[in-house]
């Protein structure tokens, strides 16, 4: 299953995603997609280095899927984490145009 690597930035807690050059972006849409388990393992190893270097904390991989031509988080939890609270659209990444292009069907029905 394709994965994206995420973490929180140590100093301010902001949710970040690993990019193709091994850096971290606040924008889910700039995340690199690990297409298989080998790629996920290698990306997690890079994330572990960044945790050791005290750049980020709590790094982990989560599943993504392609919907309407866009890569989106598969689970509601990750969709909310990548966008912001569904009950406060004025807050979080969604308020700055950084949300995933479209979320799982359940997302946003509130």
């Amino acid at each position: 299953m394709p994965d994206v690597i995420t973490a929180n930035r140590l100093a301010d807690g902001v949710v970040v995603f690993q990019t193709a050059d091994g850096a971290w972006s606040e924008d889910f849409n700039r995340a690199t997609v690990c297409s298989d388990a080998v790629a996920t393992k290698a990306a997690l190893a890079r994330a572990a280095d960044d945790m050791t270097r005290n750049l980020v904390v709590d790094a982990y991989a989560f599943a993504v899927e392609t919907r309407n031509g866009h890569v989106v988080p598969k689970a509601l939890r990750e969709a909310i984490r990548a966008a912001g609270p569904t009950v406060r659209r004025d807050l979080g990444k969604q308020a700055h145009g950084l949300a995933p292009h479209s979320g799982p069907a359940a997302f946003g029905e509130a």
């Binding site: 807690g13 569904t86 359940a106």
Partner: protein
């Protein structure tokens, strides 16, 4: 209210300096996350779904205008312009940066506040009846005892690494507004036949994945023995509570595994061994602390108010507010005003910085500088002169805080759920918002009568769903949110754990299910005076189950 002395101020200042140093060492890499985590948790700092989250203690839910303004200032300067009041009478900020937290704690210390022990495996913020000191059915104000417990438990070296968190609540009135039987220790103030003041002690209550109602371990504990007995309970728990499985680590499980009689015997044996010279509460100290909570000198007033009656006669919305949000004060001519943080269609418990400032102003102008936070996620103005009520109402209405729904079906407790919480399995707030929209705060809600709905977004039960008259537990099944409903729970002196009514409902259908339950209740109640809980206790699950699963389309899970 209590005011810090030099010792308290130095104690809190030292703690801020210590955490400032810990944060600096974490940011520089000197401390690893694993080393740092217990330190940040002991200072109320979590890492949540979107960001860090800082939980600030509001001891027993009492604060003054200056403190509320500081909470507003922090929301503006360091967060996103709002805060979230919680079921432990605390406030949470959802977006602080780690690097700013020492400054936030310093700001809090400047107004005698802190975030100590709002997280971690220690004795948490001691809670109390939010109508303390003003309730007409009060035996004694619970806050002096809550304050004594707070001082005793703050950084207590023996009890800073308990098997799991530990929650204490104190109630001082005949009616339990502090949910004491859902606490690790619940203390009910009573008087014995001789008129001496003491406590009925409950142990082992708790919600979460294994809900239990507390069991009585002492019918009457004399006031002087408060600390000695609480220490005995904690010592038995600290030594024998399980540390191998965090889900079985609370004292409720120890009680369940040992049986009540064995646990009682062990507590009494430990109590007999106490150092009475150290732990017996001196009367002078009780009096010293109690003096901080002496009622304000309220000018005598006549019991009624023509001004209020005239307004009620011409303003239905004000009349609804009076009926739902205004409670009798023990002194005639005064009332207790519940400021609902449950506007229809908005997250329960949230208040903007401007709203906090408005409540602070009102407290200064009309409530002797006192504000309370209730475990039901509302604010209270405890000492309002009846004649001032129209003015207070108008000012509350001008900032969106006059929702006339206290105690009604739209006054819902909801945990932050999957919108904010890293542990959640489903969202809570949107369900609360939709139920509130369905019933509103007008005639429909009024016709339903008192009904407590409580919603949790996972099995940890922060939304107290087990003790909701209607409880809703959000779970995740096959990637979808699903909601399990319990009925007949209660958090007052008739405490009970709700019973699961049957299979769960989808997010789409859960509000309809609640509507079916309410319609069923209204159809079978003997009169409007029979509340949902009374009716449930009379008829049991069967009619509700039948309405949900046989007469209607039933569960869709």
């Amino acid at each position: 209210m209590y005011h810090y002395d030099d010792f308290d101020q130095a104690f809190v200042a030292a703690r801020v300096a210590q955490f400032r140093d810990q944060v600096a060492r974490r940011l520089s890499g000197e401390l690893t996350e694993e080393q740092f985590r217990p330190h940040r948790l002991m200072n109320g700092l979590y890492l949540q779904l979107h960001s860090y989250m800082l939980r600030v203690a509001v001891p027993y839910g009492t604060l003054n205008a200056r403190q509320m303004r500081k909470l507003a200032d922090i929301a503006r300067a360091y967060d996103r312009g709002y805060g979230h009041f919680t079921t432990r009478q605390n406030i949470q900020y959802n977006w602080p940066a780690l690097k700013h937290v020492p400054d936030i704690l310093a700001e809090l210390a400047a107004v005698e506040m802190h975030a100590i022990q709002t997280s971690g495996n220690c004795i948490r913020n001691v809670t109390a009846d939010h109508f303390a000191g003003v309730a007409h059915d009060e035996i004694a104000d619970p806050r002096p005892y809550a304050e004594i417990l707070r001082q005793w438990s703050s950084l207590h070296p023996e009890f800073s690494f308990l098997p799991r968190k530990f929650k204490i609540a104190v109630n001082g009135a005949a009616h339990d507004r502090a949910v004491i039987q859902a606490h690790d220790i619940g203390l009910q103030i009573v008087r014995d036949e001789a008129g001496e003041l003491g406590f009925t002690v409950y142990v082992g209550g708790g919600l979460g994945r294994s809900p239990f109602i507390g069991r009585k371990v002492r019918e009457f504990l004399p006031e002087r023995d408060l600390l000695g007995y609480v220490e005995a309970i904690l010592r038995v728990y600290n030594l024998e509570g399980r540390r191998d499985n965090k889900f079985k680590a609370r004292i409720k499980i120890l009680l369940h595994e040992k049986t009540l009689e064995t646990l009682k015997d062990e507590i009494e044996a430990e109590f007999a061994e106490r150092d009475a010279t150290l732990l017996d509460l001196p009367q002078s100290e009780v009096a010293r602390v109690a003096a901080f909570f002496a009622p304000p000198a309220l000018e005598p007033k006549k019991p009624g108010s023509d001004r209020v009656e005239r307004r009620k006669g011409k303003d239905a919305r004000f009349a609804s507010f009076f009926a739902a949000n205004v409670t009798a004060h023990k002194q005639p001519g005064y009332v207790v005003v519940t400021v609902s943080l449950k506007p229809i269609g908005a997250p329960p418990g949230d208040a903007s910085a401007d709203q906090m400032d408005a409540v602070a102003d009102l407290a200064e102008d009309y409530s002797h500088d006192e504000i309370r936070v209730s475990h039901e996620q509302n604010l209270i103005l405890p000492h309002v002169a009846l004649d001032d009520l129209p003015a207070v109402y108008d000012r509350l209405a001008s900032v969106g805080l006059a929702t006339p729904n206290a105690g009604q079906i739209s006054d819902i407790i909801a945990c932050p759920g999957l919108d904010y919480c890293t542990l959640a399995t489903a969202r809570s707030i949107p369900v609360a918002e939709r139920i509130a929209q369905k019933f509103g705060d007008g005639a429909k809600a009024k016709a339903v009568g008192p009904l407590k709905i409580k919603i949790s977004g996972c099995i940890n039960a922060c939304g107290h769903h087990h003790v909701g008259h209607i409880g809703i537990l959000g779970l995740e099944r096959a990637g979808e949110e699903t909601y399990q409903i319990t009925l007949g729970g209660s958090g007052d002196e008739t405490a009970a754990i709700g019973q699961i009514v049957g299979p769960g409902f989808s997010s789409e259908n859960v509000v309809g299910a609640v509507e079916t339950l309410v319609e069923t209740y209204m159809g079978l109640r003997t009169s409007e005076a029979e509340t949902f809980l009374d009716a449930f206790r009379r008829v049991g699950l069967a009619p509700f189950k039948e309405a949900l699963y046989e007469r209607s389309a039933g569960s869709d899970i």
